[in-house]
């Protein structure tokens, strides 16, 4: 769905819902609870299927990829027949592929993600220890993106010149590869001004530049959607009545329009998390930060099958969880959806 399409759908919902009239708050709450419960259960069942499909797809993809695990693990000058045989036995790669697959699934149900071929550590430990810095980075990046997007869109919406300039800048920033953005921020704020350290995950200071890089990479998209939503809502008949009640323009935008515009953004959020995860890989690499992104990159390059599967599984879990949360969030933001769910 393109940005304009999302905007159009949201404005359609707006007009219909504004006409829909009133419902009593009590029944609304009861229905809301039942809908919520049903949604969660359905999501859980669907989630398990999604996880299984993810693991299977990743497994098949890795089997089909050119080259062999042995090639990746043994330097070419060490590839004697004995060394290759020992390696295959060590990792159980001498068994038929379907057996490896079933074995992996079986161990997965016991919570065993296997051991990294390259790092020689349990995959759960590898992901577990690298999770903290990545979550920290992703959430801060998201926060940066959301705060900036809300500011940019509410201030410039409905003001053609400001909105055109802001939109141009946003698109320009979105188009800069995160790698470059990171280097530019480093050069200015770390190398020249010395305000922030270059590397690592030591405290808040070292988080500023990476989070900014990550956030700036997606802020443009969020603010475009948000601005479109705010602009459409400002044109709605109810906006006129809010104004007629004597509300100030700022209050109208913050209290009413933003809420209307937030709905398409929450839908976008699930997609955004995926985008952030892609950005995390680059940002972690540039800033020398620990995290899942670097682990995933190295595992994919080194054909470290258990780690690749582990990261794929982890991403699927996050994706399912975020999607579920987004759906629930939509119900919270927009009472009309709860009404519609009943009808």
């Amino acid at each position: 769905m393109t940005v304009t399409e999302i905007g159009r759908v949201s404005s359609l919902v707006d007009t219909e819902a504004e006409r829909a009239g009133t419902t009593s708050p009590a029944s609304e709450q009861r229905v809301g609870l039942r809908t919520t419960l049903f949604a969660v259960l359905r999501r859980l069942a669907g989630g398990v299927v999604v996880l299984w499909l993810t693991v299977t797809a990743a497994f098949v993809a890795l089997q089909l990829a050119p080259g062999s695990v042995v090639d990746a693990l043994l330097p070419v000058e060490q590839r004697t027949p004995e060394a290759v045989a020992a390696l295959l036995t060590e990792w159980g790669l001498d068994r038929p592929v379907w057996e490896q697959y079933l074995d992996y699934l079986l161990r997965l149900t016991h919570g065993d993600l296997g051991t990294s071929y390259v790092l020689h550590r349990p995959v759960s430990e590898v992901i577990g220890t690298q999770l903290g810095p990545t979550v920290q980075l992703a959430l801060t990046g998201l926060l940066v993106a959301l705060v900036l997007a809300v500011l940019l869109s509410t201030v410039t919406a409905g003001r053609p010149r400001a909105s055109r300039i802001a939109s141009g800048v946003e698109l320009a920033v979105v188009s800069i590869p995160e790698f470059w953005l990171g280097i530019v921020l480093l050069v200015v704020f770390s190398f020249r001004l010395g305000w922030f350290p270059v590397a690592g995950a030591n405290g808040l200071q070292s988080l500023v530049l990476p989070a900014l890089t990550l956030g700036l990479g997606v802020v443009g998209l969020v603010s475009q959607v948000l601005r479109e939503g705010v602009e459409r809502s400002l044109e709605q008949p109810w906006a006129l009545s809010v104004r007629a009640r004597g509300s100030s323009e700022t209050a109208l935008r913050l209290r009413h329009s933003l809420r209307h515009a937030a709905l398409p953004v929450t839908t976008l959020l699930a997609w955004l998390i995926g985008g952030l995860f892609g950005g995390v890989i680059v940002v972690e690499q540039v800033f020398g930060r620990p995290g899942i992104g670097v682990v995933a990159l190295q595992a994919a390059q080194g054909r470290d099958l258990p780690v690749v599967l582990g990261v794929a599984l982890f991403s699927a879990v996050v994706y399912v969880a975020v999607n579920t949360l987004v759906d629930l969030l939509a119900l919270v933001i927009d009472p009309r959806l709860r009404t519609e769910a009943r009808g």
Binding site: P66, E77, A83, A86, R192, L193, G288
Partner: protein
């Protein structure tokens, strides 16, 4: 600070370098004692050093790690029986004496007294035996077991400080292997950290591996009891520094910026185009050293058309003006190679090959005409029987470093212009590259290797299925095997050298099996206040932090 050359990709960084922030500059000039190259007093004890490195170890266990670029920090904690001087001779380290029997089958090592591991264990002959027997187990280290240790018939501790190894057959590179094997304490082999390495795996080095934050840094603290440095090192006793931190920064521009803003004190890995910022700059010390092993070279596949024709191989070499290319790609910061051995090698490098081929387009064209590649197609490439003169090179993406893709592209342009050769350079995933290598359907293959002491020569020129793991020319001439076997059977350096010289003449001058390009090197840039940074004797990789100290 002037920047003479810039590449587009790194111009931003150059910008930052050209305008260093005033604060630190002022601070630097105030401390008048920091006159580079003139250490005022003797080494100062204490302080913390932060070193930005390019490569993070896949495993911190030195017996399992095969990455050259991790040696500079792993060698802080782990040591071996022997060290080597620059001329290649061995000197004692954890062993004070060693002896190779007349028949070259029995190796006897006498261990140094009073050596202790970081976990408190004393070094004894039994420890060494444990290390060797563990490595003979293919489930612990499959390549050692199947490689050098496959020559071992028995290993015994004849008393508390004497280890005796008996070989099944003569194998000259064995002394280098066993002498440079990093030794671990007996307890380490029971550690749950054994395969991944880490603080649970103890060595005897001047620094203790204190902590590891994956993806971020590695911390070492001084081992106060240390007192067994080999004579190749700058001092005796404990290390000068109290603490060393290695930061993993894979992006070279980020490492450089961090050094210039003094967030780091030392870095390794400086791109040739940016070296000018540190060279002849009193704020920094800048050192480079050529690698050992084989140079970065193109190996012509001798089994498929058109590179199976010697005239084509020779023509290719003559069509390239390598000096000009190296100057433009690396700003003159790389050393041209001429032979199958690194010019750094003190014993086996055949200097007489220098200047014997290359940069002769007229000869290249004459050779191709003789070989029947006389037609021309619409793109200006030579043809024979309607087939274009195409030589494909698959570059494996993970191994593209040091602007080697740019280098091959420059060669591509030149051989087209000078001789109408279609040099088709394709950068591909490692899996695809492996497939092509196995199928041997490539024209040339690019490769460099750092194994010293003739081991690299064996890998390149033994038969492909009999030890020639990277015999990328697929050369099967019986002479090669003959020279290599003879060289393997003797520990007399001069005699070995004669065999290796004959081999180099044969593969480079006579058969034109390869086009040596340049000798890879390591670079270290450090703040002027950091003293004692340097390269390891003989092996030439950056040395550990033992001799490093910080000026006040």
């Amino acid at each position: 600070m002037t920047v003479s050359r810039r590449t587009l990709g790194l111009s931003l960084l150059s910008l930052a370098a050209a305008v260093p922030f005033a604060g630190t500059l002022a601070a630097c000039s105030e401390s008048s004692e920091a006159v580079p190259g003139a250490p005022s007093s003797g080494p100062r004890s204490g302080g913390t050093l932060t070193w930005g490195v390019e490569t993070e170890a896949t495993t911190l266990n030195p017996q399992l790690n095969g990455q050259d670029k991790t040696k500079l920090y792993l060698r802080n904690a782990y040591e071996s029986l022997l060290a080597r001087k620059d001329d290649g001779t061995f000197v004692g380290w954890l062993a004070t004496k060693w002896e190779v029997s007349q028949d070259q089958l029995t190796y006897t090592f006498t261990l140094r007294d009073g050596v202790k591991f970081h976990d408190g264990e004393a070094l004894s002959a039994a420890t060494v035996v444990t290390n060797v027997t563990q490595l003979q187990d293919a489930t612990y280290n499959s390549s050692s077991a199947a490689g050098p240790l496959s020559h071992v018939a028995s290993v015994k501790a004849s008393d508390d400080t004497t280890v005796v190894l008996v070989l099944k057959d003569r194998y000259a590179p064995f002394l280098d292997y066993i002498g440079s094997l990093a030794l671990l304490s007996t307890k380490s082999f029971a550690s749950s950290d054994l395969k991944s390495g880490g603080p649970g795996v103890a060595g005897t080095g001047p620094f203790v591996l204190a902590s590891y934050a994956k993806g971020q840094q590695l911390e070492f603290t001084r081992f106060e009891e240390y007192n067994w440095a080999p004579e190749t090192r700058g001092h005796q006793g404990a290390a000068h520094l109290e603490k060393v931190i290695y930061r993993f920064l894979p992006e070279s521009s980020v490492r450089l910026g961090a050094l210039q803003s003094q967030q780091l004190q030392v870095i390794e890995g400086v791109p040739g185009t940016l070296a000018a910022q540190f060279k002849d700059n009193p704020q920094y010390s800048y050192q480079t050293s050529l690698n050992t092993g084989t140079p970065y070279s193109l190996y012509f596949n001798s089994t498929v058309e058109p590179t199976s024709e010697q005239k084509v191989r020779e023509a290719f070499r003559h069509a390239v003006d390598l000096d000009a290319i190296l100057t433009s790609v690396y700003a003159g910061q790389r050393t041209r190679a001429w032979s199958a051995v690194s010019p750094q090698d003190p014993n086996f490098y055949d200097k007489s090959l220098e200047g014997t081929y290359g940069n002769d387009p007229a000869k290249a064209n004459a050779l191709l005409d003789e070989a029947g590649w006389t037609g021309r197609d619409g793109d200006g490439f030579r043809t024979k029987d309607g087939k274009r003169l195409t030589i494909v090179n698959y570059q494996s993406k993970p191994y593209v470093r040091d602007q080697r893709d740019v280098l091959l592209q420059a060669i591509q342009a030149q051989v087209k212009q000078n001789a109408g050769i279609d040099f088709d350079v394709q950068v591909v995933d490692s899996g695809i590259a492996d497939q092509h290598r196995a199928a041997r359907d490539y024209g040339t293959w690019d490769n460099s290797n750092t194994n010293p002491d003739g081991v690299d020569i064996e890998y390149h020129w033994l038969l492909p299925d009999h030890g020639g793991f990277i015999n990328l020319s697929v050369a099967t001439d019986p002479e090669l095997v003959d020279w290599l076997r003879k060289a393997q059977q003797t520990t007399d350096v001069a005699e070995r050298a004669q065999h290796y010289f004959a081999l180099q003449q044969f593969v480079i001058a006579e058969k034109a099996y390869s086009l040596p390009l340049y000798e890879p090197e390591d670079q270290i840039a450090a703040l002027a206040s950091v003293q004692g940074v340097g390269f390891r004797t003989y092996h030439q990789l950056p040395e550990n932090a033992y001799d490093i100290w910080l000026e006040e």
